[in-house]
Amino acid sequence: MQLIACPWCGPREEVEFSYGGQAHVPYPDSPAELSDEEWAHYVFFRDNPRGRFAERWNHNAGCRRWFNAIRDTSTYRFESVYRLDDPKPVTP
């Protein structure tokens, strides 16, 4: 059972959190102007890297706040968590 550090509540067991997929995928400004393919890309396609990945997490069982995290998908290690209004950390 991993610990995930909620930016507000501190480290809690992973079962208190839910996963929200890739971070920094904004809702398109004008969906109507997108082609079907572009729209499908927004709806269905996400990156799937091996290694560092910027993700969204929600502390469901605690403060119910969304936050972002950089996690290594090959080790599951959380390298950092950051608030939604923080910029995506620059990773080496």
């Binding site: 059972m1 480290p11 269905f44 469901n60 599951y76 939604l84």
Partner: protein, 956 residues
């Protein structure tokens, strides 16, 4: 019965007390402090069971959890299969029998209690042997929060099975002092009979504490029998010791064959002589201690057979002084005997070649092939192992952030070294926590270690028996042999993981504690590759078997899954409601009267709502308070229809879709104020919808000034439904003008009842005139009873979820998640009217523009009427279509869709159904077929609204 093989003194048993137990139906005696295994050996009994595949007799081969052979089934006090005789503590009344492989689960419920406890510590020490105690003392003395767990009944580890001395006194005196000191530290938790069975990320370790097993029938019933400790440690010190490794030879499974260190443990800890005449076969120095100790205890040691060409000069000298014959450069090639070993076959061994064997009589054959550090937990947390060719063992091969390995688990061989290494480990853990060790962190004085002669790494003795390895057992429990490994390698398997699956080695209860490294060595030998390249199979939790009951803990029976109930639950129970599970909620499904089955009750309840008045506990409906200047903006973006145009005091039905345009929930929205709405969601969708709204509000539109708060349990909700509902509401709330003109459909009004705020809303989920009553649940029972009282003249009838479903289905109102499945758009449901064309965008809108969304063959919600007016179509039934010639198409018969809801209707006086059907609306009037129990039932496709399609009844 006398216990012939019990020593006259010594050991950790209570000789003053005798306990009786039965094994294989025979009544035997032992002492508190015994294990079942030691008590059996004290009675001269080595054979425990026959083997699973070959039916060969098997006995006790080790003294603890590494024993591959001695599986038993406990029958009394409670049936439990597949326990090791070596780890079952003896108690009065224990009844067990030997087990060939699989056991028998109890056929009665286990009445014992199980639980879990969370612990947070600075330092967790696993193992209370010399290294673990030293580490725990170091950490405790520094004031750290420490937990020390150990799997044995008492602390001491290897010291329990030896004759070591510390500070000039028996080492166990130091152990007792260490335990007493730990008990004085308020931040130390010391748990014996507690096996750390799993190590995970972030210092998380699971340990099983056997709290009352050893008490047998005297176990207090109010205590949990076993407890899972969920330990979160900032640092973990592993002092898990080492397992002795056997050497494989022909017929090495014959009872009486035992690890040398185990024999020492039986002697010193339990006061048991495992035999009268012993042969000791070894490849290193440690087995000599067993030979010398057994000799001193009166066992005739016939020979020490040392595979090393030069043996061990210093050990040879010790043996000569004791009069024990030592055969260096020799091996045991096999055994003789019937049920138990009678002879060891001993032959010269040089340059890998075995000479002619001679037989030496013995009833005990001790074996030692060196020691495997217990690296299981280290490996479970992905610690890399390295192979040490000198010892023939895998050792921790790297430093991990939160884990320190000490003592013999790290390859330290002698007592002084283990103590010092334990202290080092404790200090290393403290250093990582920035805690300073104390100055008085003293270690006991241990004798100077004697440098042993170099061990020989010998996995197996070449088989000269003619059996070609077929009786040379690697995994005794799985009956897997050297021949099996050779067959696996011969079949082309190279990976140790594949060999494991092919041979099943290491898959039994002991998970290869004695066989794993042997297999790596033998595979490497057969392939001609270094053992490091072969590696080990993956170590996975649990280290020792854990009962599912222990893992379930408190979460069983009533506490298995929380039952959520409304404020009216007791009333429902008293009214004889039959409940159904809706998520975690318990909801009344119907209220049968005496003699009524569900169908009759539901027909009666529906009729009441359509012709008189019914009342439902709808409190489980999800409710969300949405507040803020931008509340309407958020709702406009999330609902398919326009919510900002809703007037304060009014109610609107709305649908929410995902970005893919598929319906995720529906419900009604009350506008409470310009900046405030109350959303009603489905019972099952309550949490999901709030999460959905929060997700968008927090992550996508943080600029919106709006807040969403769950008020599901803030409001009890009672729909009062039917043509007479106005009379009931008017009677209970005389201050409210309930006329259609003053209180129109889809509006709400606030009022009070005896000073208590009440909200009324004209919302109908049945098509009938209806009022929903909202009140703080504190007053739910009182208000419900007022409504019942007022409704009595009209025969007010409480109805359950089944009638609710029938009433809504008759009106074609879908249940999201029942009539939809995540591939259904509002248009498919015939709800294009609920999709705004004015709004430039909302969640899901862009997906509606996909060409596939306009496909006329999409599945659409329609009604179905069985032509026979009798059959209730099973929900989930498939729908098929006949060809023009009136016959079924050839298989595979194309499926048109499926039945989503199906009921018997009091109003229609016939069964009906809702269904998703390809191009369904175009098929209205057609006849299609539904296979039901082997026949094809013709059904007419209709519109989805079967009762009052004009909506004439909603105003009464």
């Amino acid at each position: 019965m006398s216990t012939l093989f019990r020593t006259t003194s010594g050991g950790r048993i209570d000789r003053a007390t005798t306990v009786e137990f039965t094994f294989d139906g025979q009544t035997l005696t032992g002492h508190p402090g015994d294990t079942l295994a030691s008590a059996l050996l004290a009675n001269g009994r080595h054979v425990v069971a026959t083997s699973v595949k070959y039916g060969r007799p098997r006995g006790i081969a080790a003294a603890w959890a590494e024993d591959p052979g001695g599986l038993v089934q406990v029958e009394e006090p409670f049936p439990e299969p597949m326990l090791l005789a070596t780890t079952v503590e003896l108690f009065d009344g224990l009844a067990a029998h030997g087990l060939p492989g699989q056991g028998r689960l109890a056929d009665v419920p286990d009445s014992a209690r199980y639980d879990a406890v969370h612990a947070h510590v600075d330092v967790l020490v696993v193992g209370a042997g010399p290294a673990g105690l030293a580490a725990a003392l170091t950490a405790a003395r520094a004031g750290a929060r420490v937990t020390l767990v150990d799997e044995q009944s008492e602390a001491g580890g290897s010291l329990l099975g030896g004759t070591d001395r510390l500070d000039g006194a028996p080492a166990l005196q130091w152990v007792a002092a260490a335990v007493a000191e730990l008990a004085r530290h308020p931040e130390v938790l010391h748990l014996q009979r507690t096996t750390a069975f799993g190590a995970y990320d972030d210092g998380f370790v699971l340990a099983l504490e056997r709290r009352t097993d050893h008490l047998g029938t005297a176990a207090p019933k109010h205590l949990s029998r076993q407890r899972v400790w969920r330990i979160r440690a900032r640092q973990v010190v592993l002092a898990t010791g080492a397992h002795e490794r056997p050497v494989v030879f022909a017929d090495n499974d014959r009872p009486g064959t035992m690890l040398a260190g185990a024999a020492r443990t039986f002697l010193h800890r339990y006061g048991v002589l495992p035999g009268r005449e012993a042969v000791v076969f070894t490849t290193d120095d440690t087995a000599y201690d067993a030979a010398l100790d057994l000799h001193a205890a009166g066992v005739r040691v016939q020979a020490v057979v040392d595979a090393r060409p030069g043996g061990s000069p210093q050990r040879r000298e010790q043996c000569e002084r004791a009069g024990i014959r030592v055969l260096s450069g020799a091996v045991v090639t096999g055994t003789r005997g019937d049920e138990r070993v009678t002879h060891a076959l001993v032959a010269p061994f040089a340059g890998g070649e075995v000479g002619a064997a001679g037989a030496i009589g013995c009833d005990l054959l001790l074996v030692s092939g060196g020691w495997n550090p217990a690296v299981h937990l280290f490996s479970q947390v992905r610690g890399r192992l390295r192979y040490d060719a000198g010892r023939g063992a895998f050792l921790p091969g790297e430093e991990l952030d939160g884990v320190v390995v000490t003592g013999s688990a790290a390859g330290v061989a002698d007592l002084a070294g283990c103590l010092a290494d334990g202290q080092r480990g404790g200090r290393a853990a403290l250093a990582r926590l920035d805690i300073a060790p104390t100055a008085d962190d003293r270690l006991p004085a241990a004798p100077d270690p004697v440098v042993p002669a170099a061990p020989l790494v010998l996995w197996r003795v070449p088989d000269t028996s003619g059996a070609e390895g077929a009786t040379s057992f690697v995994d005794l429990q799985r009956d897997a042999t050297v021949a099996d490994i050779a067959r696996a390698v011969g079949a082309g398997l190279r990976s140790i993981e594949h060999v494991k699956r092919y041979t099943t080695i290491g898959t039994a209860h002991d998970q290869g504690k004695t066989s794993g490294v042997l297999t790596s060595g033998i595979v490497a030998e057969l392939l001609g590759v270094p053992v490091q390249d072969t590696g080990t199979t993956t170590f996975r939790p649990p280290y020792t078997p854990v009962a599912f009951a222990a893992l379930a803990g408190r979460d069983r029976g009533r506490l298995f899954d929380p039952e959520r109930v409304t404020a009216l639950h007791d009333w429902h129970v008293a009214a004889g409601a039959v409940f159904e599970d809706v998520g975690q909620w318990k909801r009344p499904r119907h209220y049968p009267r005496p003699g009524e089955d569900m169908e009759a009750a539901v027909l009666r309840e529906c009729a009441a709502a359509r012709t008189g008045v019914g009342i439902l506990d709808g409190s489980t409906l999800g409710k969300i308070d949405v507040q803020g200047p931008d509340a309407a903006v958020l709702l406009d973006r999330l609902y398919t229809n326009l919510m900002s145009s809703l007037k304060v005091g009014s109610v609107r039905y709305g649908v929410m879709c995902g970005v893919d345009g598929m319906v995720i929930d529906d419900g009604t929205v009350l506008r409470l104020a310009e900046d405030r709405f109350l959303l009603l969601t489905t019972t099952g969708g309550a949490a999901k919808v709030l999460d959905w709204m929060e997700e968008w509000a927090q992550t996508e539109w943080p600029d919106l000034r709006v807040h969403c708060t769950s008020v599901t349990e803030q409001w009890s909700t009672f729909p009062v439904v039917g043509p007479r509902s106005r009379d009931v509401i008017g009677a209970v709330f005389p201050g409210v003008d309930v006329s259609t003109e003053a209180f129109p459909f889809m509006t709400w009004r606030d009022t009070t009842l005896d000073g208590v705020p009440v909200r009324l809303a004209r919302i109908s989920f049945s098509g009938e005139l209806a009022f929903e009553v909202y009140v703080n649940p504190w007053y739910a029972v009182a208000v419900w009873e007022r409504l019942l009282e007022a409704g009595r003249p009209y025969g007010i009838t409480p109805y359950g979820t089944e009638a609710m479903h029938v009433l809504r289905a008759e009106k074609g109102y879908p249940i999201i998640g029942q009539d939809t499945d995540g591939t259904v758009t509002p248009h498919d449901l015939g709800m294009a009217w609920a999709v705004s064309k004015k709004k430039p965008d909302f969640i899901g809108k862009r997906s509606f523009a996909r060409p596939a969304n306009a496909d006329p063959l999409r599945k659409q919600l329609v009604g179905l009427l069985p032509v026979d007016r009798e059959t209730v179509l099973p929900e989930g039934s498939q729908i098929v279509e006949f060809r023009a010639d009136g016959r079924l198409p050839a298989p595979p018969v194309p499926m048109l869709g499926h039945v989503t809801s199906s009921y018997r209707s009091a109003e229609l006086a016939r069964p009906f159904a809702l269904a998703l059907v390809k191009g369904g609306r175009e098929r209205i009037g057609d006849t299609v077929h539904v296979p039901v129990g082997g026949t094809l039932v013709p059904v007419e496709v209709t519109g989805s609204v079967l009762v009052d399609p004009e909506g004439a009844r909603r105003d009464g």
